[in-house]
Amino acid sequence: MVDLIKRAKELIESSAVKVVIGYENGTGNRTRALFVEKTEDADKLIFDSRCIQNLAAYVTKREVKDKGKMAIAATLPVMRSIIQLASEFQVNDNNLLVLGITPESKLIEFENLVEVETFVHQYQIEIDARNKEMLDRLDNMTKAERWKFWIDELAPCFKCYACRAACPMCYCHRCTVDFNQPQWIPVPSHELGNLEWHIMRAIHLTGRCIDCDACYNACPLYIPINLLTKKMMLDAREHFGGYQPALKGEHLMSTYKPDDKENFIQ
């Protein structure tokens, strides 16, 4: 990504931004995030099919945010996350500059977040075939089978909270799972603790998750926790017509329509 490196250097030299967030080669043929603050670090910037980590997770962290204006090399999922974060007043035009990398991996620079939003709205969030098939299989199970499936799937989880760290939407500095006055979610990672933690996570991401699979990729045990958020996305689409991250949009869960349809309230 030669022009990305060139652009990063210009931005750092002109100190238009204090840090450029991108990818660099990590150990064992894997990639990791790179925070370019000096022009010579820019050479390490790379971009290829291995770069799937969602860099938007860093824009809300104090360590990066307090450096000053940031620029970020953003693939489509990262851009969606940025728009959602912007709608939650976490980022705005004067503390973030987006260097867009299109699905055809072409670099476009966006003047402001509104342009990013129009770009993002060209694409519909699609759930890939493998997960779709998994969701259908789950839907056809009986309730007891589903209960057993999730208790067994979540059993290995030892609450390392990597999923929370990887997700750009989890930027709260005191997460409710850490609450102990009162203890909402049981601390131990036994069956109940894991189940209620992942239910809480799914509820908190309803209407905010942009299905970038960062949580699944981050999970050391490959537990399919992204199925929960995908299910919530499909439900939102089915019951309320779905949602797209939008700067001025109505948030799915904090607004209502007088004629929301349901068939279980007597």
Binding site: W150, I199, I203, L228, K231, M253, Y256
Partner: protein, 149 residues
């Protein structure tokens, strides 16, 4: 062994269902005594985590009830609640939690008889489902000493 007596928790809103339950009382309509009512200012205040805590602590059934749409004393509390219940209920269903045990309803301050019917119906259906053993099994840490003092 004596017939199974389910433990039912009822989360109700103060302006409609709680007043409806009062009316059931003033009209002396008898109903099953398995239900304990927890009063909230509005259905909008009912937190989904409290439902999970209720199952944790051994509840076999839950009733969540508030004002009919358009009747909410705070205009939109019940509308917000309805949207949350739709999403929370489908997530519970997806993870296998038995949503048959959670009865959602609208009971107004004038519907004393309806409240008695809802309670009796829920108690009967939960008694038929039996104790919520799957959830009790996973919530197996010992009977905690609860006094926070």
């Amino acid at each position: 062994m004596a017939e199974f007596e389910p433990k039912i928790v009822a989360f109700v809103c103060n302006w409609c269902t709680y007043a409806g339950a009062d009316l059931t009382g003033t009209s002396r309509i008898k109903y099953a005594s398995n239900v304990r009512i927890v009063r909230f200012p509005c259905t909008g205040r009912i937190d989904y985590m409290l439902l999970l805590k209720a199952f944790d602590e051994g509840a076999d059934g839950i009733i969540v009830s508030g004002c009919h749409p358009n009747d909410c004393h705070y205009t939109s509390g019940n509308f917000h609640a309805r949207r949350r219940w739709i999403m929370f209920r489908s997530l519970c269903d997806f993870t296998g939690i038995d949503t048959e045990r959670i009865k959602f309803s609208w009971v107004s301050a004038a519907e004393g008889a309806k409240w008695a019917d809802i309670v009796n119906a829920t108690v009967a259906s939960v008694r038929e489902l039996g104790p919520y053993s799957e959830y009790k099994k996973v919530a197996k840490y010992p009977e905690r000493e609860v006094s926070h003092g």
